[in-house]
């Protein structure tokens, strides 16, 4: 037993020495653009790290030459915790002296480091969803978000949920993510003067949710909103919907189900399942990215939506650096990002995405910008139409 | 062919109880170890069977050193211990208890099995065969303990206070059966007892233990009749 402990210690200290070795490069070479990536390499959700680093690598490989830049990528592990994120960002700023920070991908950790990055005065690109990360009143504001924010999505989802003569029920995870998702829909409902018939919570990891669904059925629910953290729990809920024979016309969730739901559930369970996303997930661009990603890394993207958002972030940042000509001119780069004529993810183009007071790439006001997605009989993703037409004509 | 202890010491944790005990038990012979309460009699039995660790000295069984073996290994070699208080498995039937004893005899099928004779000599056990041992009377339980030990086909039998809690009549019944087992199996017997008179009557050799040391050894009959020893060591 003692020997084992000694061996484990030895391994651990070698590992940490190796990590130190990486840290201690520090002379800044002129002209090289140094991007710092921070994400949960270890911890409960390493897929957020994987699908931060890989899309950035892919996009940099595509774009660096195009913009005539030499780009270096530095990665640090935030361990999936706020403390880890603080330490990781400190390391990026102080030891690595990076020119811009991408991440952390998880909202709680992003929130933790928001102040530090803001004070550092470096461009910060984020795909985290929490609306609180973005403080639009800051001037200058260093944060640019290349994903939607959760409250915008809620308002879009609410437009869809409460359209027509629907009776809405909510199922949410009994955790922070699920609760805030449910609360924001409840708030939107209040604003719209609509009513929610029933709210049920699911404990993460629960093995059976038939009771919750039968309560929704008893309340006459025909439209269900799911704010669920893990794909496995989504599967448990949809399984219960099938089992209890709940006649739901629409089961609305969000794009996080792409991460693992489709590999778990059976086709009959996704029939009525839809989610709303601003990205054209069934378009050629996403398919092309997936093909290149798979060719490079031997598997399909884990979180395709994040892959897309980080690629948008790379284009936003590198374009601006190219325009200014010096990544060390942080102010110039930030202003250049605000003034970009367009940001592209391959063939998808976003015209004038940002402005002096607008650092969000997507806007909730225009329903035609958002797309309703569902699954076909084989479980493949299909676009049902844009939100405006779905609300007007059904889809 | 004998069980030999040389300078054996042991105890409980840091508390040393036995201080260099020498003892020889030839096969086929009954050796009694007598002494007052707390003299170290049970400690001796538990050390021989391996329930307590031998901290110094050696124990050999027919020439094989056994003092470093776990109790189950010693039992498999034929060193069978009937502990103080019998320690039957109360939730098991009489049959199952005796069956447990048979495990120690695995690999020694050639050794004599006297369980049937014992049951003939004490037929009440047959009537109780399917009953839970915990429900039996004290005397019956002691007989089950003896039957269980017999099922292990002992080469050496350690008996720790077999008469404890029994009436004089039942005690003499137990001693009679012990003598029978010893004779029919040819096992060497270590009989640890507080009933000095009965124990020494049964044995060929006697040892008096005091404060963890053997203080007097000799012919059992001589010890039994020696007024001096009875007064000095045994308080009777």
């Amino acid at each position: 037993m003692k020997k084992f402990a000694v061996a484990a210690l030895a391994v651990a200290s070698v590992a940490s020495l190796a990590a130190c070795g990486n840290d201690s490069s520090s002379e800044r070479e002129d002209g090289v653009v140094r991007i710092g990536l921070v994400g949960p390499e270890t911890g409960a959700a390493p897929q957020f790290y994987t699908d931060l680093v890989r899309p950035v690598e892919l996009a940099v490989a595509d774009l660096a030459d195009e913009y005539g830049l030499e780009v270096e990528i530095v990665t640090v592990d935030d361990k999936g915790t706020p403390d880890g994120a603080s330490a990781a960002v400190q390391q990026l700023l102080n030891t690595e002296d990076v020119d811009a920070i991408f991440g952390p991908p998880q909202s709680g950790n992003a929130l933790q480091v928001a102040d530090v990055i803001q004070r550092s005065g470096r461009p910060w690109l984020s795909a985290a969803l929490a609306p609180e990360i973005m403080d639009e009143s800051l001037d200058p504001n260093w944060l640019f978000r290349t994903n939607y924010n959760a409250s915008d999505l809620s308002s879009v989802v609410a437009q869809y949920l409460f359209s027509g003569d629907s009776t809405v029920g909510i199922v949410h995870s009994a955790d922070a993510y699920g609760q805030s998702g449910a609360e924001s829909i409840e708030a939107e409902a209040e604003e719209l003067g609509a009513e929610i018939a029933a709210v049920e919570a699911i404990q993460p990891g629960t093995t059976d949710f038939s009771a919750g669904i039968s309560r929704l059925a008893a309340a006459g629910v025909d439209t269900v909103f799911l704010a669920i953290t893990a794909g496995a729990d989504t599967a448990t809920v949809t399984k219960a919907i099938a089992q209890e024979g709940l006649a739901a016309d629409r089961v609305v969730t969000n794009a996080t189900i792409l991460a693992d739901f489709a590999t778990l559930a059976d086709p009959e369970q996704w029939e009525n399942l839809v989610f709303i996303d601003p990205r054209d997930l069934t378009g050629d661009t996403v398919a092309g990215i997936a093909a290149d990603y798979e060719a490079e890394y031997g598997e399909a993207p884990i979180i395709p939506t994040n892959v897309y958002s980080w690629m948008a972030a790379v284009d936003t940042y590198l374009q601006a650096v190219a325009e200014v000509g010096d990544a060390r001119d942080f102010d110039g780069v930030r202003e250049a990002m605000e003034g970009l004529e367009q940001v592209s993810v391959r063939d998808d183009v976003y015209e004038k995405p940002f402005g002096a007071g607008d650092h969000e790439i997507y806007e909730p006001e225009d329903p035609s910008q958002w797309i309703v997605f569902g699954f076909d009989g084989e479980g493949a993703l299909e676009a049902r139409g844009d939100l405006a037409s779905c609300i007007a004509d059904g889809c | 062919m004998s069980l030999v202890l040389e300078k054996v010491a042991s105890g409980y944790g840091r508390l040393a109880v036995l201080h260099g005990v020498d003892l020889e038990v030839p096969r086929g012979e009954i050796v009694s170890v007598v002494g007052a309460n707390g003299a170290g009699k049970s400690t001796l039995a538990q050390t021989i069977s391996g329930l307590l660790t031998t901290t110094a000295g050696t124990i050999t069984l027919d020439g094989t050193p056994v003092h470093r073996l776990r109790p189950e290994r010693r039992a498999r070699l034929g060193l069978v211990h009937v502990p103080e208080g019998r320690r039957l498995f109360g939730g098991l039937t009489v049959a199952e208890n005796v069956g447990m004893g048979r495990h120690a005899a695995r690999g020694r099928r050639g050794d004599p099995d006297v369980v049937e004779h014992l049951l003939d000599a004490f037929p009440r056990l047959r009537e109780r065969w399917g009953q839970r041992a915990g429900l039996l009377s004290g005397g019956e339980q002691q007989m089950v303990a003896l039957a269980r030990a017999a099922a292990s086909r002992p080469r050496y039998l350690l008996l720790d206070e077999p008469s404890l809690g029994l009436s004089p009549r039942l005690s003499s019944e137990v001693f009679r059966l012990v003598a029978m087992i010893a004779e029919e199996t040819g096992a060497g017997v270590v009989l640890v007892e507080q009933r000095v008179d009965a124990a020494l009557r049964l044995a060929t050799t006697g040892h008096v233990i005091e404060h963890g040391r053997i203080v007097v050894s000799g012919d059992a009959e001589e010890l039994r009749t020696s007024e001096m020893i009875r007064k000095a060591y045994l308080g009777v």
Binding site: Q47, I202, T263 | E96
Partner: protein
């Protein structure tokens, strides 16, 4: 009626894992707090052997169960025996909790937290039982739990191994005097318990996918059912699971889904106060 039927079906998984807890508690007075992660091991093993197309499904299951059993023996030898050196030594509690965290982290780092689909022993869909739609896989697990329980009860009554186990439960020191190694009995019990956990892991992962956290929630409920039923009887987990499952489901139907779990755990506390040996357990001093 819905709640009762689905409660009983739901209980199977917990009973299966709870049975393993009873096995180790009876023989060694210890519990393996890493059972949940070993259940996840079963799920990942199923993923691994799933690609061996030359081996038929029963063979694959056997591999998973055997590897699980071997792991159980390893846990016993290195993490329980050295830390359970007597009645007052409860360090095994820390060592098994410790290894459960180590395994959880290893799996999360090695496999990621996302569920991975397991095809072995997959039974999708629902069936009607007494007019109530129940999940097929849960029903399969419940049937297996009943079969395992009956097998264990029969074995403990009528096989010599079962007699030894009951004897060890009463008095391991004296069992050693019968030429039987209580350590070996403990190792066998741990192997059997872990094999059951691995089996439960395969069956459950086939339903919800293999994840590092697969067993965390299951183990909590398995503890609950073992305590409710009693840790000293093989009937305990089954009886406890049915009571637990029905209470959880009835409260979930009546009060809301989240209350089901709360009611189940509250029931554990009630049982601990009123009948600490469990509904069908025998009274004995448990030194935990």
């Amino acid at each position: 009626m819905d709640a009762v039927v689905s409660g009983i079906v739901l209980a199977g998984l917990y009973a299966l894992v709870g049975q393993g807890l009873v096995l180790t508690f009876v023989t060694t007075r210890t519990l393996n707090f890493a059972s949940g992660e070993l259940l996840a091991v079963g799920g990942f093993l199923a993923l691994g052997v799933g690609s061996w197309s030359w081996l038929p499904t029963p063979g694959k299951l056997a591999v998973v169960v055997l590897v699980g059993g071997a792991l159980g023996a390893v846990v016993h030898r290195w993490l329980v025996l050295p830390f359970a050196r007597g009645e007052h030594d409860s360090r095994w509690l820390l060592s098994t909790v410790g290894i459960s965290y180590v395994l959880l982290n290893l799996f999360t780092n090695g496999e990621g937290a996302n569920p991975q689909r397991v095809e072995l022993t997959r039974n999708p869909g629902t069936v009607e039982v007494l007019g109530v739609g129940v999940n097929k896989q849960s029903l399969v697990i419940a049937v297996i739990a009943v079969v395992v329980t009956l097998a264990l009860v029969a074995a403990s009554r009528w096989t010599s191994g079962g007699v030894i186990m009951r004897a060890v439960a009463e008095d391991p020191r004296t069992v050693a005097l019968m030429g039987i190694s209580p350590r070996l009995v403990g190792a066998v019990a741990y192997a059997a318990a872990t094999a059951l956990a691995a089996l439960a892991g395969v069956l459950w992962a086939s339903e919800v996918g293999a994840t590092p956290g697969l067993g965390v929630h299951v183990l909590v409920s398995a503890f609950a059912v073992a305590v409710i039923g009693g840790l000293t009887s093989f009937w305990g987990p089954l009886v406890g699971a049915v009571v637990f499952g029905v209470v959880v489901q009835v409260s979930a139907y009546e009060l809301g889904a989240l209350w089901g779990q709360v009611a189940g755990l509250a029931l554990v506390i009630v049982v601990l106060v009123l009948r600490p040996e469990g509904l069908v357990g025998r009274r004995m001093e448990a030194k935990l």
